[in-house]
């Protein structure tokens, strides 16, 4: 399994900076979503972004994968600085993501959804694909093999041929993770992977996230509201409030930081 689903390292060792966000600001008209935020994500770590509602977490993720373009600041991914980027460029560079609201193709099966994650890796032309013959068939077999490994990894064999619209929410989230993994990403962005899950589903998902990190060496940035999950999973945590960074450090440092406590519990004025 390890051999085929492996991220290309591009000479970055574990612990090197994979992605750096420098002084990024983003506003929508008069609304300032993100103000002057800087942080970095190191290769091989699990990085959490937390904060109260409306703190700008999802906006931050959207900036990282090129969906929003920040008015100020720079983003450096694998040593390449950029200011504007299209999501598909981000995807082809090795950034994959899941969404807060599950965004799967509901009428398609689990298998096809995960297969869709391989689109960018497909090389045969439209003509061959149309006939599903010759090189297209060979390629499909290779991709199917990788997809099957992901299915095995996420233990979703039983729903391989089930349309995802029929699946319970927790499983849909898992399929979405599978589709993101199918891109063999270097950086995986997870937007609230555990929202709306019950305890058992959360535990399963946590285990998968850790396994993805250790087994594939994938760097993970995740947004999550369940603080206990964040504290257990992540190596380092960034805390945002009203679009500003208020803390950054290990889970323990962040947990004991007075500004973070104030931001979550509120302070008397």
């Amino acid at each position: 399994m390890d051999a085929s689903v492996q991220t290309k390292t591009h000479n970055l060792a574990k612990g090197d900076t994979l992605l750096a966000v420098d002084n990024v600001s983003l506003s929508f008209g008069g609304v300032k979503a993100i103000t002057d935020v800087s942080f970095d994500i190191k290769k091989g770590e699990i990085r959490a972004i937390i904060g109260p509602n409306g703190a700008g977490k999802t906006s931050m993720l959207n900036v990282i994968n090129g969906f929003y373009h920040p008015q100020q600041g720079r983003i450096t991914f694998k040593g390449e600085t950029r200011q504007k980027m299209r999501p598909y460029v981000a995807a082809s560079q090795g950034i994959a993501r899941t969404f807060q609201n599950v965004a799967l193709f509901k009428g398609m099966t689990t298998l096809d959804n995960i297969m869709a994650g391989r689109t960018l890796k497909m090389n045969t032309g439209f003509f061959w694909q149309l006939w599903r013959h010759g090189p297209a068939m060979r390629e499909e077999v290779e991709h199917r093999h990788i997809v099957e490994e992901i299915i095995d990894f996420l233990e979703i064999q039983a729903i391989r041929k089930t349309p995802v619209g029929k699946l319970p929410y927790g499983l849909q989230k898992r399929v979405e993770l599978g589709r993101a993994l199918a891109m063999e990403p270097e950086l995986l962005l997870l937007d609230e992977p555990m929202a709306g899950m019950n305890l058992e589903e959360k535990e399963d998902m946590s285990r998968f996230i850790i396994d993805v990190n250790t087994q594939y060496g994938t760097t993970i940035a995740l947004i999550e509201h369940d603080i206990s999950v964040v504290m257990d999973l992540s190596d380092r945590v960034v805390v945002l409030e009203y679009g500003r960074k208020i803390a950054d450090g290990t889970p323990n440092q962040v947990k004991n930081d007075q500004t973070v406590i104030d931001a979550y519990l509120g302070v008397p004025h």
């Binding site: 099957e148 095995d152 233990e155 064999q157 039983a158 391989r160 041929k161 396994d211 087994q215």
Partner: protein
């Protein structure tokens, strides 16, 4: 000829060698991996098992040692069993879902030196109890996921062990030593130790010898005419005698292929893909399949639904008769054929039963309706009665003598007698050597003349020679006049009516049998709707005179059927009442597995029992109930009591 040859191979590894020689290219085992069925031939399995045996030997596994096998049905775990047996070591399959504490007991009691396990979950479990396991040296795992960062001082991957074993077998001396070790295996040696699930007290390790296992399997292979073209799906727990018998022993004797499902959740799909020719499942599997089919039919379009129900009706009328070879009018046969084309064949295909030649069910009583349903579709479903101590079969139904209410005549070469107390005692070709390290309980289980006590009460039906199992022997009571009173037997007869959900019979040391009945609110509610019976609550429906009439008719029916069995005629129900509330596990009236807690109910409803026996027509009762949110409340009710028709003794003898 095949069977005669099998007798010469008196251990399973020798059978494996024979299969590799005789049918080396035939498939031996399949496993669905990454969505594709991977197949190993007998020759490949033999090579892998030899390699694995060499590695286990290198890890210190010697003749007489034990090795635990823990996990789901996977080729490498089956190979581990064969490899251990090749060395003369004894495999001990353990229930994979056992909690750490139970597992610690079994592993320590069996003194296992090695454990072959499926995955990280089992490795973690064993590591958590490792300070209590004094004999365990190494753990071999099948699936390495998540184990990369573990300390590998005592961990080995089975895949790597096979590779290493292959290399070391290139040395002629190693290879010859392994062959010698296999040849040294004797049929009288313990082949496997199967621990009973331990519902009563600590589990016991049932030791089975190789030749007895093989004798028993050879008998049943001949009985059901199994051969190396058969296919089975191995989905039952490894530690259960059913799996070891049906898949492992019979597979090696007959040389057929077993398929391991992709995961526990995909069994249904895998069943459909493999289409086994030989199938075994406990009644509840058949029950849930039927329910699923019926629910899905309710969602189908009206014409399809109509067609389905019409042809199921046809099958009910003619299906079983055709299967039993009885005479059926030509029009019936034609309709049945049409039904087969339109309904039965597609249905069987969906269920994965298209190629099923022989199917078995055992473990508990199967409802006659359920049994008939599958048989009417043309599935050769049969019942057997057996025990781990017998290496499964005691009685089995041969083709053409299939009935829902008996477990069949004796299996080949089995001897059975009924003790004066009514307990079933047997001697069988596969009978056990004893319990491992438990001579006291071995002695308790054996009679002085070498029969095994089953703990079940039963009797032979005089006309047919079929064995009927009544109940656990310790539950069977006697009426004051000395007639037999088997509570569960009576209750099961009642419960086969869809309107009756639960029944509790009383009568031990009393002068007559009486019983409490719970109606099934879905079935009776449905009936009420169709018959314009108005009701506001369970209690009201349960007390409705028309409902009483209906249940009384069922009870009378049961009495008539009891009267036809001379031994049971005394257990006819004299009076009954319908309880005002459903028996509930939250109130402690049922166990969590929905079994009736007779003693507790008798205590709690003492006033009602008194009323059943003192002849009164009504009784008052108030009981505490626990609601789902944990609050408690009282329910009071006045419950009516009905007398039933007892079929008199004269009619009884006429019926007999």
């Amino acid at each position: 000829m095949e069977a005669a040859q099998a007798l010469r191979e008196d251990t399973f590894p020798k059978l494996l060698a024979r299969n590799a020689r005789v049918r080396g290219d035939r498939p031996a085992i399949r496993h669905k991996d990454l969505g594709i069925w991977q197949t190993w031939s007998w020759a490949e399995v033999y090579a892998n098992v030899r390699a694995l045996a060499a590695s286990y030997h290198a890890l210190g596994l010697e003749r007489g040692d034990t090795i635990a096998i823990i996990g789901a049905n996977r080729p490498k775990l089956y190979w581990s069993m064969m490899a251990a047996q090749m060395l003369g070591a004894i495999p001990v399959p353990v229930y994979a879902d056992a909690v750490a504490d139970e597992m610690a007991y079994v592993l320590e009691h069996a003194q296992v030196k090695l454990a072959a396990v499926q995955d990280q979950e089992q490795v973690d479990k064993i590591l958590s109890i490792s300070d209590r396991l004094h004999y365990l040296k190494y753990i071999a795992y099948d699936w390495g996921r998540g184990l990369r960062d573990y300390d590998h001082a005592r961990l080995r991957s089975i895949e790597e062990l096979i590779q290493q074993g292959r290399k070391s077998l290139q040395d002629k001396a190693v290879s010859a030593a392994l062959d010698a070790s296999m040849a040294a295996g004797k049929g009288a040696d313990t082949s496997v130790i199967l621990y009973t699930s331990g519902t009563t007290g600590r589990s016991k390790g049932v030791m089975l010898s190789a030749e007895r296992c093989i004798n028993a399997a050879t008998d049943s292979v001949a009985f059901d005419k199994l051969n190396d073209r058969d296919e089975v799906l191995a989905y039952l727990p490894l530690a259960w005698v059913g799996d070891h018998y049906m898949n492992y022993a019979q597979g090696l004797v007959a040389g057929y292929c077993m398929s391991c499902p992709e995961s526990a959740e995909t069994v249904q799909q895998d069943l459909r893909e493999i289409g086994p020719t030989f199938y075994f499942a406990p009644p509840r599997v058949f029950e849930s399949l039927l329910t699923r089919v019926m629910i899905r039919m309710e969602d189908a379009s009206a014409p399809k639904r109509k067609m389905f129900h019409y042809f199921i009706g046809v099958a009910k009328k003619y299906g079983e008769k055709i299967l039993n070879g009885e005479s059926v009018p030509l029009s019936g046969r034609l309709m049945y054929e049409l039904g087969n084309l339109l309904v039965y064949a597609p249905l069987k295909n969906v269920l994965g039963f298209s190629r099923m030649r022989v199917g078995y069910t055992a473990g508990e009583a199967i409802g006659p309706e359920l049994f008939s349903f599958y048989r009417s579709l043309g599935l050769n479903l049969k019942q057997l009665y057996g025990q781990t101590e017998a290496f499964l079969y005691v009685t089995v139904q041969p083709d053409g003598q299939i009935r829902a209410d008996t477990v069949g005549p004796l299996a080949p070469n089995v001897e059975v007698k009924i003790s004066p107390e009514g307990e079933v005692l047997f001697k069988s070709p596969g009978m056990f050597l004893g319990y491992f390290r438990d001579e006291d309980r071995t002695a308790e289980t054996l009679t002085p003349d070498g029969f095994i006590k089953t703990g079940d009460a039963g009797f032979f039906e005089p006309q047919s020679g079929h064995l009927k199992i009544i109940d656990r022997a310790k539950d069977v009571g006697k009426l004051a006049n000395g007639d037999l009173f088997p509570p569960k037997y009576v209750e099961n007869k009642l419960k086969f009516y869809p309107n009756i959900k639960e029944a509790v019979a009383f009568g031990d040391q009393r002068d007559a049998v009486t019983c409490f009945i719970n109606i099934d609110i879905t079935a009776v509610g449905n009936w009420a709707e169709r018959n314009n019976v108005v009701y506001g609550s369970y209690q009201e429906l349960a007390g409705h005179p028309l409902v009483y009439d209906m249940i009384a008719a069922h009870v009378n029916e049961v009495n008539r059927s009891l009267a036809q069995e001379p031994m049971m005629a005394g257990a006819q129900i004299k009076r009954f009442l319908i309880l005002h509330k459903e028996l509930d596990a939250d109130d402690g009236e049922l166990t969590r597995t929905q079994k009736v807690r007779r003693g507790f109910i008798a205590e709690r409803y003492q006033p009602l029992i008194d009323a059943l026996y003192n002849g009164s027509q009504e009784a008052d009762i108030s009981t505490e109930v626990t609601f789902e949110d944990g609050r408690k409340g009282m329910i009071s009710a006045r419950v009516k009591i009905r007398d039933c028709d007892i079929v008199p003794v004269s009619a009884r003898s006429k019926a007999a």
